[in-house]
């Protein structure tokens, strides 16, 4: 790749990403709803169900819940990426991009940048909500590392969403994925400690990639962990890097191949 093609790949990628930023400006209510939704869920769980949830001794439920909700919002990104990608494919926008003399990679890199920025915005809103309900990270460096791991999870799910969107090319199919997000979240340590689940279910929840990121985030934010003593629970930070790395490798390769094979 020459310097000129690389420069155009970056410029074109930014033009495609900028398109989403213009959506925010054009549809402020949609973006506001996107920021408010996880806050509402957080407050609902914290104030309505919080009292009934069994948490480790001496832990405030909000301190336990907040990292879980941060992880959940990363998970919600899966369907939003899939909807964006499949809508473009179904409406012929992807084909139009592919028929232009632009850098082909920009279609995917632009999507990745836009979706990460979107998640940063939503995560920022939820962090403020956390601070408002009394949750506090112990150290700034720990908080930065936790946020990095959360966005790493989002980055990996982004490619899963791109793959699903290109595969189905049908925004309606994203409803199925969307419907699975909460069950995946419930079957993790985001809302409750896996130790309180039936044995085999707790094991599944502990191995859930979302649990790894949430457990690592809890550790780095300086909150109490879920108190698990299994190998995964003890190596949360390692798993919070390993899972997203594995998901990224698999779905990035699949997505790029599928995108390139659109011309077969």
């Amino acid at each position: 790749m020459t310097a000129t093609t690389l420069r155009w790949a970056i410029a074109d990628g930014w033009t495609v990403a900028r398109r989403d930023l213009m959506h925010w400006a054009n549809q402020p209510m949609t973006i506001a709803a996107g920021v408010i939704f996880p806050i509402v869920i957080t407050l609902a769980f914290g104030y309505l169900f919080g009292g009934a949830v069994k948490v480790p001794e001496g832990v405030d439920y909000f301190a336990f819940l907040m990292p879980g909700m941060y992880g959940m919002t990363m998970l919600f990104g899966l369907s939003s990426t899939m909807i964006a990608v499949s809508t473009d494919a179904a409406k012929g926008v992807t084909d139009r991009f592919r028929s232009l003399p632009m850098a082909p990679s920009a279609v995917l890199t632009g999507r990745a940048v836009a979706d990460l920025l979107h998640s940063v915005l939503i995560l920022a809103g939820l962090l403020l909500c956390g601070l408002a309900v009394g949750w506090r990270p112990a150290t700034l460096s720990g908080a930065a590392a936790a946020i990095g791991l959360l966005l790493l999870l989002r980055f990996s799910l982004l490619w899963a969403g791109v793959y699903a969107g290109l595969r189905t090319r049908n925004p309606g199919a994203a409803v199925t994925i969307q419907a699975m997000e909460f069950p995946i979240g419930f079957l993790s340590n985001a809302f409750v400690a896996p130790a309180t689940m039936p044995g085999w279910l707790g094991a599944v929840a502990e191995w859930n990639p979302l649990s790894a990121t949430v457990a690592a985030a809890r550790e780095l934010f300086g909150d109490q962990g879920w108190g698990g003593d299994s190998w995964v629970a003890q190596h949360a930070v390692l798993m919070a890097v390993a899972w997203p790395a594995a998901i990224t490798v698999v779905f990035f390769v699949l997505s790029v191949r599928l995108f390139q094979r659109l011309d077969r």
Binding site: R18, N26, Q27, K91, G92, V93, R96, P101, M102, A106
Partner: protein, 310 residues
């Protein structure tokens, strides 16, 4: 040099043959119509010519460049208007055109200026997001987005499918204006009227092959000249009238009980007309209306592709 030149183009998906050896030559500055039913291979042809799809065999050149080996050069010289209005519905018309201008590497200022020009030229006045546009205006925006660099060759894949008659006429006028400016247009359509209205030449495509090619006039002439239509007064005697007309014309006649119409190709116009009327009147069948006319493209189409369809 032809604007589009296609030789023996083939495309197979899995074991299925979508294109089975297509040949096309499109002269610069003309409108070429690809006419055929759903699944005939029209869109596959357009997707190959616009570098979206790789051919399985054959050669295709657009604006002098090979679509397989020089896709970048081809992309810089074409515009594509696909079956859906491929614009961002959350962006305004101006934002859409600016974005596509940047992706054509015009630079921010030039992209803005070009967007202004195109908005005016295509009569796009709505200031809101494209999702709020009428179907016709969204299609015009789509057309404008394909004209950022005034490409010499423009592909229109069923550009008026799903549009109301008024929007359809607007799009036709926009296409005529582009052609008057020297653009070569390859158009696919299921609407015979559209091909008849716009195209200088037409290729009729069926199951991945060109089954007929020529000017709209020449295609109509292939049906054997004019047709005689007779509307009988008494529906009961429609079949009897058809037999008489078949005998006089020496060609099979079609009947339509709903309109009480008999229709048959005629070689010798006036003599057949006179003989048919005499024979009908001798049989005591009253004719309400009689007409000699050129065949419609619908009839040409059914005639050409009908063999394996019935």
């Amino acid at each position: 040099m032809a604007a589009i030149s296609v030789r023996g183009l083939r495309k197979t998906y899995g074991g299925k043959t979508a294109l089975d050896g297509i040949d096309l030559d499109v002269a610069p500055g003309t409108v070429y119509g690809l006419l055929g039913p759903n699944g005939a291979g029209k869109s596959t042809t357009v997707r190959i010519l616009t570098t979206l799809l790789r051919p399985s065999g054959g050669r295709a050149e657009v604006a002098g460049f090979d679509v397989r080996t020089q896709p970048r050069q081809v992309r810089g010289r074409i515009g594509l208007v696909g079956q859906h209005a491929a614009v961002d519905e959350l962006l305004t018309g101006r934002q859409n055109l600016e974005m596509f201008g940047r992706l054509h590497h015009l630079g921010a200022a030039a992209a803005r200026a070009r967007a202004d020009e195109l908005l005016e030229r295509f009569g796009i006045e709505h200031p809101g997001p494209a999702g709020e546009y009428s179907g016709g205006m969204r299609r015009r925006l789509d057309l404008a987005a394909s004209m950022i660099l005034s490409p010499p060759v423009l592909f229109l894949d069923e550009p008026t499918t799903g549009l109301d008659p008024r929007s359809r006429t607007e799009i036709w006028q926009a296409v005529r204006d582009l052609v008057a400016g020297g653009t070569t247009v390859l158009l696919t359509t299921q609407y015979l009227e559209e091909a008849d209205q716009l195209a200088d030449r037409i290729a009729v495509i069926d199951t991945g092959r060109v089954v007929a090619e020529g000017t709209p006039e020449a295609l109509k002439a292939r049906l054997g000249g004019d047709r005689l239509d007779v509307v009988v007064h008494d529906r009961e005697r429609l079949l009897e009238a058809a037999e008489i007309i078949e005998r006089v014309a020496g060609e099979p006649a079609e009947t339509d009980p709903g309109t009480r119409r008999v229709s048959a190709p005629v070689a010798e116009r006036v003599r057949t007309l006179a003989e048919a009327l005499n024979a009908l009147s001798a049989a005591g069948i009253e004719a309400e209306d009689v007409a000699l006319r050129r065949p419609t493209l619908d009839e040409v189409f059914l005639h050409i592709t009908g063999g394996d369809r019935r």
